[in-house]
């Protein structure tokens, strides 16, 4: 059978995300954020999620709704503060959400490690700060470094610019951010895209996320007539 990872709807794509799941969500600000998938996740009513995202409800209404509805038990992020939203702040100060704060580069590298089968690594980032408290420290080449572990997820929801039916993805400008890392780090990766092309339509030299990392492809709400098939 010809490989075809396109799924008809966002609701179908997220249907098996169950209570207690760990979900990575791509995006840095609005660029690269899979709005339709987040909305479908919200609509599904799923609870008790652990969310891995650079922020915690910033950059989009859909993700804020998920937090506001108390569907998120824990967030792993580098910058939970959102401009123009106090949803996370209120939950956090009320002790209703757990926060694991990670330096942005360490967050990226831990996600990358999960995807690349690296079981742990040492980084100079965070040494001597409260974010490294309790973490193993080792001096390597004269420099104290902190031991960090991979961040694995059950599902990754990523936003890309275009896909082909094999799930090969290309991104657009700063919308790339965490997408390629998260796609490789989750058991199941769902990509929301602005357009879907026939296999062979994306130059193999320019593919950013090879289809091996992608399980399902959904057309974004903004895509409209952009389905090129």
């Amino acid at each position: 059978m010809a490989v075809d990872k396109v799924v008809p709807s966002a609701a179908a794509a997220v249907a098996d995300i169950g209570a207690g799941a760990t979900v990575m969500i791509s995006g840095f600000g609005p660029p690269g954020q899979p709005d339709l998938l987040i909305e479908a996740l919200y609509e599904s009513g799923v609870t008790d999620l652990t969310v891995i995202n650079n922020n915690a409800g910033a950059g989009g209404e859909a993700i804020s709704e998920l937090f506001a509805a108390k569907r998120v038990r824990k967030v792993v992020c580098s910058f939970p503060k959102a401009i123009g939203s106090t949803v996370f702040d209120d939950l956090y100060l009320a002790g209703e959400i757990e926060l694991e704060l990670v330096p942005q580069g360490t967050l990226a590298e831990r996600i990358r490690a999960a995807g690349a089968g690296v079981a742990g690594f040492y980084t100079p980032t965070g040494y001597g700060t409260e974010l490294a408290e309790g973490k193993e420290v080792r001096v390597l080449d004269g420099r104290p470094c902190v031991f960090e572990r991979p961040l694995i997820a059950d599902f990754a929801l990523v936003r890309a610019h275009r896909a082909d039916t094999h799930g090969n993805l290309v991104y657009r400008k700063t919308g790339r951010n965490f997408g390629p890392l998260m796609a490789a780090a989750a058991e199941v990766t769902i990509a929301e895209v602005g357009g879907i092309a026939e296999v062979g339509a994306i130059d193999p030299e320019t593919v950013v996320t090879p289809g091996i990392y992608v399980d399902r492809v959904v057309l974004g709400a903004d895509a409209g007539a952009e389905d090129e098939r």
Binding site: V3, A116, N168, P204, E205, P210, Y213
Partner: protein, 214 residues
């Protein structure tokens, strides 16, 4: 009658599901690509930075910049992607590759694999990507002849050749049948026509577990 190299390759291809991402080693494993059953599509990975590898290139198809891990000129299929070596081996080590099919000098009943060097002091050691594939692929299939040219069984209680990886082999496809390492010794999953399990026990000196489907 024992299976030919092509029959072994076809038997391996039969067990790999449609849509699988597969890395094929040099030699007998390469033949698997020629025996993909109708209705199935495998997406081939080559560890020097490509998914969607096609068959060997001939004539005008030869592109000096397009080779596989065996340094043979190959072609590209629709949906292919190129990437660097860190990504390629991250893909392997990160368990994204569904299957790899490789050759072996020896496989132990625990699933240990020896396929990268002999113990000869005059042979230059070279490991390439063998250790990465053995620990990384979700399913490690070995395709090999059951006996060496000098008649020694390549399924062993424990490997005498240097190891490539421990407890990694899931199935071994040979000219005499299909075997699975297990805690109770090798399970015989299938036998080539005319091959008797008792005779194999005798040649190999192994406690083979009869698991041939009735």
């Amino acid at each position: 009658m024992s299976w030919s190299r092509h029959e072994i390759a076809a038997r391996v291809a039969w067990d790999i599901p449609d849509g699988a991402y597969v890395n094929l080693g040099i030699g007998m494993p390469t033949l698997v690509a020629d025996h993909v059953p109708e209705g199935k599509q495998f997406i081939l990975h080559t560890e020097n930075g490509m998914l969607g590898m096609g068959r060997a290139a001939t004539g005008d198809e030869v592109d000096p910049d397009l080779i596989n891990a065996g340094k043979i000129h190959v072609t590209e299929t629709p949906g292919a992607a190129y990437f660097d070596h860190a990504e390629s081996f991250g893909m392997i080590r990160g368990r994204h590759l569904s299957y790899c099919v490789i050759g072996a000098y020896q496989v132990s009943q625990d699933g240990d694999l020896a396929n990268w060097r002999t113990t000869s002091p005059t042979v230059i050691p070279g490991v390439g990507g063998a250790m990465d594939l053995a620990v990384g692929a979700r399913h490690v299939f070995v395709a090999m002849d059951l006996f060496t040219r000098s008649g020694e069984c390549k399924l062993v209680e424990s490997c005498s050749y240097p190891l490539t990886a421990t407890r990694c082999v899931e199935r071994v496809y040979t000219d005499h049948g299909v075997f699975e390492p297990s805690a109770d010794g090798f399970r015989v999953v299938e036998l080539a026509g005319g091959v008797g399990i008792e005779a194999l026990r005798e040649c190999s000196g192994l406690d083979l577990v009869d698991a041939v489907a009735a």
